[in-house]
Symmetry: C2
Subunit: 149 residues, 2 copies
Protein backbone atom coordinates (compact mmCIF):
# COMPACT_ATOMS: atom_id res chain seq x y z
CA UNK A 1 0.00 0.00 0.00
CA UNK A 2 1.23 3.49 -0.81
CA UNK A 3 0.50 6.61 1.19
CA UNK A 4 -1.91 7.93 -1.40
CA UNK A 5 -4.06 4.84 -1.14
CA UNK A 6 -4.10 5.04 2.62
CA UNK A 7 -5.09 8.67 2.50
CA UNK A 8 -7.85 7.95 0.01
CA UNK A 9 -9.17 5.23 2.21
CA UNK A 10 -9.14 7.54 5.19
CA UNK A 11 -10.74 10.27 3.15
CA UNK A 12 -13.57 8.03 2.01
CA UNK A 13 -14.12 6.80 5.51
CA UNK A 14 -14.33 10.31 6.87
CA UNK A 15 -16.53 11.58 4.05
CA UNK A 16 -18.96 8.74 4.57
CA UNK A 17 -19.32 9.87 8.15
CA UNK A 18 -19.31 13.56 7.34
CA UNK A 19 -16.04 14.04 9.09
CA UNK A 20 -13.12 16.03 7.85
CA UNK A 21 -9.68 15.32 6.58
CA UNK A 22 -7.60 17.93 8.35
CA UNK A 23 -3.94 18.63 7.83
CA UNK A 24 -3.29 17.23 11.29
CA UNK A 25 -4.82 13.92 10.31
CA UNK A 26 -2.90 13.88 7.06
CA UNK A 27 0.33 14.71 8.87
CA UNK A 28 -0.14 12.00 11.45
CA UNK A 29 -1.03 9.44 8.81
CA UNK A 30 1.98 10.40 6.70
CA UNK A 31 4.39 10.20 9.61
CA UNK A 32 2.93 6.95 10.79
CA UNK A 33 3.18 5.63 7.27
CA UNK A 34 6.77 6.74 6.86
CA UNK A 35 7.77 5.08 10.12
CA UNK A 36 6.98 1.63 8.75
CA UNK A 37 7.00 0.05 12.19
CA UNK A 38 4.78 -0.33 15.17
CA UNK A 39 4.86 2.66 17.47
CA UNK A 40 3.46 3.62 20.82
CA UNK A 41 1.31 6.73 20.92
CA UNK A 42 4.15 8.48 22.65
CA UNK A 43 6.65 7.55 19.97
CA UNK A 44 4.31 8.64 17.25
CA UNK A 45 3.56 11.86 19.09
CA UNK A 46 7.25 12.60 19.40
CA UNK A 47 7.77 12.16 15.67
CA UNK A 48 4.76 14.32 14.97
CA UNK A 49 6.08 17.07 17.21
CA UNK A 50 9.41 16.99 15.43
CA UNK A 51 7.57 17.93 12.30
CA UNK A 52 4.98 20.23 13.76
CA UNK A 53 5.03 21.67 17.22
CA UNK A 54 1.36 22.62 17.18
CA UNK A 55 -0.26 19.21 17.32
CA UNK A 56 -1.50 17.97 20.68
CA UNK A 57 -1.42 14.47 22.10
CA UNK A 58 -5.17 14.35 22.17
CA UNK A 59 -5.23 14.75 18.42
CA UNK A 60 -2.78 11.91 18.01
CA UNK A 61 -4.97 9.72 20.18
CA UNK A 62 -8.10 10.76 18.31
CA UNK A 63 -6.50 10.24 14.93
CA UNK A 64 -5.03 6.85 15.76
CA UNK A 65 -8.44 5.78 16.97
CA UNK A 66 -9.89 6.79 13.64
CA UNK A 67 -7.16 4.91 11.81
CA UNK A 68 -8.03 1.83 13.80
CA UNK A 69 -11.73 2.26 13.17
CA UNK A 70 -11.28 2.50 9.44
CA UNK A 71 -9.05 -0.55 9.45
CA UNK A 72 -5.84 1.18 8.49
CA UNK A 73 -4.15 0.49 11.79
CA UNK A 74 -4.40 -1.82 14.73
CA UNK A 75 -3.12 -1.93 18.25
CA UNK A 76 -1.59 -4.66 20.33
CA UNK A 77 0.50 -5.18 23.43
CA UNK A 78 4.14 -5.84 22.77
CA UNK A 79 6.44 -8.03 24.83
CA UNK A 80 7.10 -5.20 27.26
CA UNK A 81 3.41 -4.69 27.87
CA UNK A 82 3.23 -1.41 25.98
CA UNK A 83 0.37 -0.74 23.62
CA UNK A 84 1.72 -0.34 20.13
CA UNK A 85 0.02 0.61 16.92
CA UNK A 86 0.85 -0.53 13.49
CA UNK A 87 -0.29 0.75 10.13
CA UNK A 88 -1.55 -2.10 8.06
CA UNK A 89 0.95 -3.57 5.76
CA UNK A 90 -1.20 -5.93 3.84
CA UNK A 91 0.55 -9.00 5.14
CA UNK A 92 3.03 -8.70 7.90
CA UNK A 93 4.37 -11.49 10.02
CA UNK A 94 6.16 -11.24 13.30
CA UNK A 95 7.82 -14.07 15.12
CA UNK A 96 7.99 -12.91 18.72
CA UNK A 97 10.34 -14.68 21.09
CA UNK A 98 8.75 -14.84 24.52
CA UNK A 99 12.13 -15.31 26.14
CA UNK A 100 14.17 -12.45 24.78
CA UNK A 101 11.46 -10.41 23.14
CA UNK A 102 13.30 -10.46 19.86
CA UNK A 103 10.99 -9.86 16.93
CA UNK A 104 11.79 -11.61 13.72
CA UNK A 105 10.18 -9.87 10.80
CA UNK A 106 8.96 -12.23 8.18
CA UNK A 107 7.20 -10.23 5.56
CA UNK A 108 8.28 -12.56 2.83
CA UNK A 109 5.76 -15.24 2.10
CA UNK A 110 2.13 -14.26 2.06
CA UNK A 111 1.23 -16.44 5.02
CA UNK A 112 2.01 -19.52 3.10
CA UNK A 113 2.68 -22.19 5.63
CA UNK A 114 4.05 -20.29 8.59
CA UNK A 115 4.79 -23.68 10.07
CA UNK A 116 7.34 -24.15 7.34
CA UNK A 117 8.59 -20.66 7.89
CA UNK A 118 9.06 -21.24 11.58
CA UNK A 119 10.92 -24.41 10.92
CA UNK A 120 13.20 -22.57 8.56
CA UNK A 121 13.86 -19.91 11.19
CA UNK A 122 14.26 -22.56 13.87
CA UNK A 123 11.55 -20.84 15.84
CA UNK A 124 9.66 -22.99 18.33
CA UNK A 125 5.99 -22.04 18.23
CA UNK A 126 4.18 -21.64 21.53
CA UNK A 127 1.11 -19.98 20.21
CA UNK A 128 0.08 -17.35 17.78
CA UNK A 129 -2.68 -15.12 16.65
CA UNK A 130 -3.58 -13.93 13.25
CA UNK A 131 -5.78 -10.91 12.90
CA UNK A 132 -7.08 -10.17 9.47
CA UNK A 133 -8.81 -6.83 9.14
CA UNK A 134 -11.19 -6.31 6.32
CA UNK A 135 -14.79 -6.22 5.26
CA UNK A 136 -16.99 -9.20 5.90
CA UNK A 137 -19.47 -10.58 3.42
CA UNK A 138 -22.46 -8.94 5.07
CA UNK A 139 -20.84 -5.54 5.03
CA UNK A 140 -19.71 -5.90 1.45
CA UNK A 141 -23.30 -6.31 0.42
CA UNK A 142 -24.75 -2.80 0.50
CA UNK A 143 -28.27 -4.12 1.01
CA UNK A 144 -27.62 -5.98 4.22
CA UNK A 145 -24.90 -3.77 5.62
CA UNK A 146 -25.65 -2.63 9.13
CA UNK A 147 -22.89 -0.05 9.11
CA UNK A 148 -20.69 0.68 12.05
CA UNK A 149 -21.80 1.68 15.54
Amino acid sequence: MVLQQAEDLLHDYLMAREQKLTWQRRTILAIFFAARTHLTIEELYKKVREQNRNIGVATVYRTVKILCDCGLASGFKDAGGNVKYELGQEYHEHLVCVKCGRVIEAVEAVYQLPAKLCTAKKFKVLHSRLEVYGICQECSNPCSCAGKA
Copy 2:
Protein backbone atom coordinates in the same frame (compact mmCIF):
# COMPACT_ATOMS: atom_id res chain seq x y z
CA MET B 1 -3.63 -27.51 24.52
CA VAL B 2 -5.29 -28.79 27.67
CA LEU B 3 -5.35 -27.04 31.00
CA GLN B 4 -2.86 -29.43 32.50
CA GLN B 5 -0.31 -28.60 29.85
CA ALA B 6 -0.80 -24.91 30.36
CA GLU B 7 -0.39 -25.28 34.08
CA ASP B 8 2.76 -27.33 33.61
CA LEU B 9 4.17 -24.71 31.35
CA LEU B 10 3.39 -22.01 33.86
CA HIS B 11 4.80 -24.12 36.64
CA ASP B 12 8.07 -24.68 34.81
CA TYR B 13 8.33 -21.03 33.98
CA LEU B 14 7.81 -20.02 37.58
CA MET B 15 10.15 -22.66 38.96
CA ALA B 16 12.91 -21.57 36.64
CA ARG B 17 12.60 -18.12 38.09
CA GLU B 18 12.16 -19.27 41.68
CA GLN B 19 8.64 -18.02 41.74
CA LYS B 20 5.65 -19.78 43.15
CA LEU B 21 2.53 -21.36 41.75
CA THR B 22 -0.17 -20.09 44.09
CA TRP B 23 -3.80 -21.14 44.12
CA GLN B 24 -4.68 -17.66 42.88
CA ARG B 25 -2.54 -18.12 39.81
CA ARG B 26 -3.96 -21.57 39.19
CA THR B 27 -7.49 -20.25 39.59
CA ILE B 28 -6.97 -17.37 37.21
CA LEU B 29 -5.34 -19.61 34.63
CA ALA B 30 -8.15 -22.15 34.89
CA ILE B 31 -10.87 -19.55 34.54
CA PHE B 32 -9.09 -17.89 31.67
CA PHE B 33 -8.65 -21.26 30.05
CA ALA B 34 -12.29 -22.20 30.51
CA ALA B 35 -13.45 -18.94 28.96
CA ARG B 36 -11.94 -19.83 25.60
CA THR B 37 -12.19 -16.28 24.33
CA HIS B 38 -10.36 -13.04 24.56
CA LEU B 39 -11.23 -11.08 27.66
CA THR B 40 -10.46 -7.69 29.11
CA ILE B 41 -8.86 -7.63 32.54
CA GLU B 42 -12.17 -6.47 33.91
CA GLU B 43 -14.09 -9.34 32.36
CA LEU B 44 -11.59 -11.84 33.61
CA TYR B 45 -11.64 -10.25 37.04
CA LYS B 46 -15.41 -10.48 37.17
CA LYS B 47 -15.32 -14.17 36.36
CA VAL B 48 -12.62 -14.72 38.91
CA ARG B 49 -14.65 -12.96 41.56
CA GLU B 50 -17.64 -15.12 40.80
CA GLN B 51 -15.58 -18.07 41.78
CA ASN B 52 -13.60 -16.54 44.59
CA ARG B 53 -14.37 -13.29 46.28
CA ASN B 54 -10.91 -12.95 47.80
CA ILE B 55 -8.82 -12.28 44.73
CA GLY B 56 -7.88 -8.68 44.02
CA VAL B 57 -7.60 -6.92 40.67
CA ALA B 58 -3.92 -6.38 41.21
CA THR B 59 -3.41 -10.12 41.33
CA VAL B 60 -5.27 -10.56 38.08
CA TYR B 61 -3.09 -7.92 36.46
CA ARG B 62 0.03 -9.48 37.88
CA THR B 63 -0.96 -12.96 36.82
CA VAL B 64 -1.96 -11.99 33.32
CA LYS B 65 1.39 -10.27 32.95
CA ILE B 66 3.09 -13.51 33.91
CA LEU B 67 0.96 -15.45 31.45
CA CYS B 68 2.03 -13.04 28.73
CA ASP B 69 5.66 -13.25 29.73
CA CYS B 70 5.70 -17.01 29.59
CA GLY B 71 4.00 -16.95 26.23
CA LEU B 72 0.72 -18.46 27.31
CA ALA B 73 -1.28 -15.34 26.62
CA SER B 74 -1.06 -12.18 24.64
CA GLY B 75 -2.81 -8.84 24.59
CA PHE B 76 -4.18 -6.69 21.83
CA LYS B 77 -6.60 -3.88 21.22
CA ASP B 78 -9.97 -4.95 19.92
CA ALA B 79 -12.23 -3.04 17.57
CA GLY B 80 -13.65 -1.02 20.44
CA GLY B 81 -10.21 0.05 21.57
CA ASN B 82 -10.21 -2.10 24.68
CA VAL B 83 -7.17 -4.12 25.62
CA LYS B 84 -8.04 -7.78 25.49
CA TYR B 85 -6.08 -10.82 26.42
CA GLU B 86 -6.22 -14.21 24.90
CA LEU B 87 -4.85 -17.50 26.09
CA GLY B 88 -2.86 -19.12 23.37
CA GLN B 89 -4.66 -21.58 21.31
CA GLU B 90 -1.84 -22.92 19.22
CA TYR B 91 -3.25 -21.58 16.01
CA HIS B 92 -6.17 -19.29 16.10
CA GLU B 93 -7.40 -17.12 13.32
CA HIS B 94 -9.74 -14.19 13.51
CA LEU B 95 -11.25 -12.39 10.61
CA VAL B 96 -12.18 -8.99 11.99
CA CYS B 97 -14.62 -6.85 10.06
CA VAL B 98 -13.66 -3.22 10.43
CA LYS B 99 -17.15 -2.12 9.56
CA CYS B 100 -19.33 -4.09 11.91
CA GLY B 101 -16.71 -5.44 14.24
CA ARG B 102 -17.92 -8.96 13.66
CA VAL B 103 -15.24 -11.52 14.38
CA ILE B 104 -15.22 -14.63 12.27
CA GLU B 105 -13.44 -17.42 14.03
CA ALA B 106 -11.46 -19.57 11.71
CA VAL B 107 -9.61 -22.10 13.76
CA GLU B 108 -9.88 -24.69 11.07
CA ALA B 109 -6.93 -24.68 8.72
CA VAL B 110 -3.55 -24.33 10.29
CA TYR B 111 -2.77 -21.06 8.56
CA GLN B 112 -2.65 -22.73 5.25
CA LEU B 113 -3.33 -20.06 2.71
CA PRO B 114 -5.45 -17.59 4.60
CA ALA B 115 -5.94 -15.88 1.28
CA LYS B 116 -7.89 -18.90 0.16
CA LEU B 117 -9.74 -18.93 3.44
CA CYS B 118 -10.72 -15.32 3.08
CA THR B 119 -11.95 -15.93 -0.41
CA ALA B 120 -14.04 -18.79 0.83
CA LYS B 121 -15.52 -16.59 3.54
CA LYS B 122 -15.96 -13.74 1.08
CA PHE B 123 -13.94 -11.56 3.36
CA LYS B 124 -12.20 -8.60 1.77
CA VAL B 125 -8.77 -8.23 3.32
CA LEU B 126 -7.66 -4.73 4.27
CA HIS B 127 -4.69 -5.71 6.30
CA SER B 128 -3.65 -8.22 8.85
CA ARG B 129 -1.10 -9.13 11.41
CA LEU B 130 0.17 -12.46 12.47
CA GLU B 131 1.92 -12.78 15.78
CA VAL B 132 3.62 -16.03 16.48
CA TYR B 133 4.83 -16.45 20.03
CA GLY B 134 7.53 -18.92 20.74
CA ILE B 135 11.20 -19.42 21.39
CA CYS B 136 13.71 -18.16 18.89
CA GLN B 137 16.74 -20.06 17.78
CA GLU B 138 19.13 -18.18 20.04
CA CYS B 139 17.02 -18.81 23.10
CA SER B 140 16.56 -22.46 22.28
CA ASN B 141 20.30 -22.88 22.41
CA PRO B 142 21.16 -23.00 26.13
CA CYS B 143 24.72 -21.81 25.47
CA SER B 144 23.82 -18.55 23.84
CA CYS B 145 20.60 -17.86 25.65
CA ALA B 146 20.53 -14.45 27.24
CA GLY B 147 17.43 -15.20 29.27
CA LYS B 148 14.68 -12.73 29.87
CA ALA B 149 14.95 -9.37 31.59
